[in-house]
Symmetry: C2
Subunit: 200 residues, 2 copies
């Protein structure tokens, strides 16, 4: 009412961002209109051009420049015999941060979640089957979350891939690096003890 039309439109868009409510959107909008005009214009042009510029990698489902392979699939140093299945790009980024895994990915695009109506039909399962059936694929690492839905999804995928000539694995459960034992929950302690490693 006391804001000009264009400002209200800006607030409506900002309210669509995750974790941003009306007050946050107004605060962000007030800051954005203080930006230099050229900066606002180039941000706007970037957003307007995104649908053309960004897409999904046809080999793994990760984000990629439109119509191209993603940076990992197009890197010849990556080992295509190992495929790490993750739920989304955030998890892919987390695995990459570990700086250990040198294989390639398959981004599922979600996980089984019956309560949210996700029965697997919108997941990248056809792509996973296709990749698992290719002769270069030796191992599929199911790096899903270790909560209930993540484990259900891993179990579902394990069953689905049972007939393929690939090794199936999942990351070890145990204590986080640098963690204090007294803050670990019972399930983590149990997993860490049952998977204890020899020190000799």
């Amino acid at each position: 009412m006391h804001y000009p039309e264009s400002f209200s439109e800006l607030v409506e868009y900002l309210k669509l961002l995750p974790g941003v409510g009306r007050r946050g959107a107004e605060r962000i909008a007030l800051a954005m209109i203080e930006w230099d005009g050229g900066q606002l214009r180039s941000f706007g042009e970037l957003l307007a051009g995104l649908p053309e510029r960004i897409g999904k990698c046809p080999r793994c489902g990760a984000l990629a420049d439109g119509g191209e392979l993603c940076r990992i699939c197009s890197d010849p140093r990556r080992d295509v015999s190992q495929i790490c299945v993750v739920e989304n790009m955030t998890q892919l980024a987390a695995v990459e941060k570990g700086n250990y895994f040198r294989g390639v990915y398959l981004v599922l695009g979600g996980r089984l979640s019956p309560l949210d109506g996700e029965d697997g039909s919108s997941l990248n399962i056809p792509l996973l089957r296709e990749r698992a059936s290719q002769p270069e694929t030796k191992e599929v690492i199911l790096a899903l979350s270790s909560d209930v839905e993540g484990r259900a999804t891993a179990a579902f995928l394990a069953e689905l891939l049972a007939g393929f000539p690939v090794k199936l694995s999942r990351p070890a459960l145990g204590l986080p690096a640098g963690a204090n034992l007294s803050y670990a929950d019972g399930a983590t302690i149990a997993a860490a003890f049952s998977n204890r490693t020899d020190m000799q």
Copy 2:
């Protein structure tokens, strides 16, 4: 590194928003690229067009459609004899929410803050002097924050306006509506008691 170029550019822009760090920016960017292409495009066009569409009201300094009076200054039902001085648009919005004040505003665009190098030279003080000297102006309400810098700014403005034939006032200090007395701080209690109102 594992994100496409356009995605990284998006994250860099989002990091400029207030209260958004690297992780928040990535989370927002991942959500935005799931938006429908048309929506991204129209948001982008809105941003790119903002520098032309949005401006400051020449009468009060509030946000306005480019080159025009703001919604309040252009509303003939508002009482131009009362000018409420606020620091910024957020405070203007707060006063409007009270749904009590029917006068007009002057948006200072900040407040005196020697530690941040704000000595008043970038504030809308020339506009305030001009408005205060106009014959229709009867009262100036200094609705600044009641913290140290707000009070210093109000004192500075009061001195500045002392020579003008206008009444100067400020909002009453007291207990917030609906508040429990036991949570009020000492300064608020003291103000509420010294300004107590008669109940007969």
